[in-house]
């Protein structure tokens, strides 16, 4: 949980950097504190890669494909709004300049209203973008890519970021979560018909932080996977006993059980495999489980340490 919160805090810091004012026009002549740069790329093996730099010069390189996403967060080494220069700790480098192309646009975004439309200056970035994911699960190397400089009017009204709708919170009927060192697992079972492709959503997250030293900027990697699954993967007919058996990229099963000591244990060979990494265990003595039934409450088990 600590790692997850650390990652979430980093993401929040990045998001909070969006300004409230909308006076300046988008483009490379505007004040740097007002603008984001977004670069869209296609990685190998079907992965989409999106680079964004916020007004505080935090850079996020996001790799996504279906329910998987990975965010590589570091600092842009330059202060100019129309340039990016960053190193990703052995995974790549980015050194580009933005070139506007065409008129500023004001796209209408879902849920943002006409007055909340951002100002978007389309264009291209030229220079070097090179990224190789862990064990080459995806890679990209280009000298030019489509890009935009955007001045959003609110942190939810960003053209460069897609907020995907999720099942409504109030529709879950039972849920399980567990936290290990740097990993988090959440499984929610919903009422039938809330979403397509099943009745359960499994979500796993992991985070790694590499501190800054004299030779390199800090790098934080946040990985996330979310998959729908049939109800048979979340077996909780008896509140003293729960079995989770999620589909790939998860493997194995995890079992929550009450012992004669009245301790709730979370054990099994459940793991998740993120692209480019070895399988990460999601069950065992180091994981503190929590199981909740809507309307009844939660059972929580502390773990040592």
């Amino acid at each position: 949980m600590r790692m997850r919160w650390a990652v979430a805090a980093l993401a929040l810091i990045a998001l909070l950097c969006v300004p409230g004012g909308a006076g300046a026009k988008a483009g490379h002549g505007g004040p740097p504190a007002e603008q984001w740069i977004d670069v869209a790329l296609e990685g190998s093996n079907g992965y989409a890669i999106h680079i964004s730099v916020n007004p505080r010069r935090h850079l996020i390189l996001q790799v996504s494909k279906e329910g998987f996403s990975a965010e590589y967060m570091t600092r842009d080494l330059l202060a100019e709004a129309d340039r990016i220069k960053a190193r990703l700790l052995g995974l790549g480098t980015i050194s580009v300049r933005f070139h506007p192309h065409g008129p500023v646009r004001h796209p209408l975004l879902p849920g943002c209203g006409r007055k909340k439309r951002p100002a978007v200056q389309p264009g291209v970035v030229r220079g070097t973008i090179r990224f190789v994911g862990e064990r080459e699960y995806t890679q990209v190397k280009v000298g030019e890519a489509e890009a935009a400089i955007e001045e959003p009017t609110g942190w939810l009204c960003r053209y460069g970021v897609r907020f995907e709708p999720k099942p409504r919170q109030r529709d879950w009927v039972s849920k399980f979560s567990t936290v290990g060192v740097g990993t988090y697992l959440l499984a929610r079972k919903y009422r039938p018909g809330v979403f397509e492709d099943g009745q359960v959503i499994f979500l796993a997250e992991t985070g790694e932080a590499f501190d800054r030293d004299s030779d390199r900027p800090p790098l934080t990697i946040f990985r996330h996977i979310s998959v729908p699954a049939p109800v048979s993967t979340f077996r909780d007919a008896h509140p003293e006993h729960l079995i989770l058996a999620p589909p790939p990229p998860f493997s194995g099963t995890g079992t929550l059980a009450r012992t004669p000591e009245s301790v709730f244990t979370w054990e099994g060979d459940l793991s998740v495999q993120f692209p480019g990494l070895d399988p990460i265990p999601l069950a065992g003595p180091g994981f503190g489980p929590e199981y909740c039934l809507r309307g009844s409450g939660c059972v929580r088990q502390d773990v040592d340490g």
Partner: protein, 350 residues
């Protein structure tokens, strides 16, 4: 559980003693509309230092009562938890505490004949919120005179009244209804009888075994709070009258894994096994089917050496699922008689 927590609990125990010493004493509430009267009272305390790991004190919670306390806290065997034991010996004060005099006999265990000598330091304190009247006055000093007392088997022995002491004079107060202190009990037994745990909404497994014969009450509880690591909190209370006095013994400890094992919620017959660490020895088993409390469980501690098993014991076992029974374990549909209450540490000292 580190030494910090140990210190905290020792501190709490001392605070409990002080609470007992500065309690309302003989306050008697006279309800008159929206107001009630808290009667004047005098309370006293004499700290007698430490002997064989026990902190010893003589407390006078009101003008009629004198109580010897022996309290010991240490790390529980086999776990990082805490073990805490106390003994309380209650007798009538035949002296006039208002004039600083304490005279009490504790059967063959000892007697006190003391007079308070003020040391000059006096502190005044305003009445508690919701009450009005003169200020409460605390005199600090020492007691002079004769004091001798020994615990059972001589596990501690004091023969000197030397030690810090205080006498607290509480004036008559006029209080808003509900703001006056509760009146002190008249029965000696009530000073060592634990208060009830009739509604325990944290434990998801709770075992309570007790017996009451020939005036002696023995009660032992073992509880596993929801979400806590393996192990159980075990509490023992023993209350027995002697000629002219009442003795109470108590033990609280945070037992290691294996202390309390039970069947699953809803399983029939429900079963439980209790095997707490020292100062307990052996283990006991309970089956809902036979209602039998069997085994070789006992306690061997300073001042307390007795089996905790036998046909006279009655047993309650509660194992709940917190998602189905949000109120946790509850043994009693109404408040049980004082002698059938499970042990509870802090309040037992008041």
């Amino acid at each position: 559980m580190g030494s910090g927590r140990l210190s905290l609990v020792v501190g709490l125990a001392v605070a409990a003693l002080l609470l007992a010493a500065t309690g309302s004493g003989e306050a008697e509430l006279r309800h008159a509309g929206k107001f009630e009267v808290q009667k004047a009272n005098t309370v006293g305390v004499l700290f007698l230092g430490r002997e064989r790991g026990y902190r010893i004190a003589l407390s006078m919670p009101n003008e009629r009562i004198a109580i010897f306390y022996a309290i010991r806290a240490e790390k529980a065997e086999g776990s990082d938890g805490l073990s805490f034991s106390y003994s309380a010996y209650v007798a009538r004060n035949l002296g006039n505490l208002g004039h600083g005099v304490v005279r009490a006999r504790f059967g063959s265990m000892g007697r006190v004949s003391l007079r308070f000598r003020p040391g000059g330091l006096v502190r005044k304190r305003d009445p508690q919120p919701g009450c009005e009247g003169a200020a409460e006055t605390t005199e600090y000093g020492r007691f002079a005179g004769h004091l001798s007392f020994h615990g059972e088997g001589n596990y501690f022995h004091v023969s000197s009244a030397g030690g810090r002491a205080a006498l607290d004079h509480e004036p008559r107060l006029r209080c808003e209804k509900g703001q006056a202190e509760e009146p002190s009990p008249r029965s000696l037994r009530r000073y060592v009888t634990p208060v009830p745990l009739s509604a325990d909404d944290e434990s998801i497994a709770l075992l309570y075994a007790f017996t009451h014969s020939h005036g002696r009450y023995i009660g032992i509880t073992a509880a596993h709070p929801e979400g806590s690591p393996p192990g159980a909190v075990v509490q023992l209370a023993v209350v027995e009258p002697r000629r002219g006095m009442v003795i109470g013994h108590g033990v609280y400890l945070e037992g290691p894994p294996g202390t309390l094992l039970t069947s699953q919620p809803g399983a029939h017959p429900a079963t439980a096994t209790l095997a707490p660490p020292a100062p307990f020895y052996g283990k006991a088993s309970y089956s809902e089917e036979s209602r039998a409390w069997t085994g070789n469980l006992g306690i061997s501690s300073a001042g307390l050496n007795l089996p905790l098993i036998g046909p006279d014991f009655r047993v309650h076992l509660c194992v709940v699922n917190p998602l189905r029974d949000r109120d946790g374990c509850e043994f009693f549909t109404r408040e049980p008689p004082p002698d059938e209450r499970p042990a509870s540490l802090g309040r037992a000292l008041r």
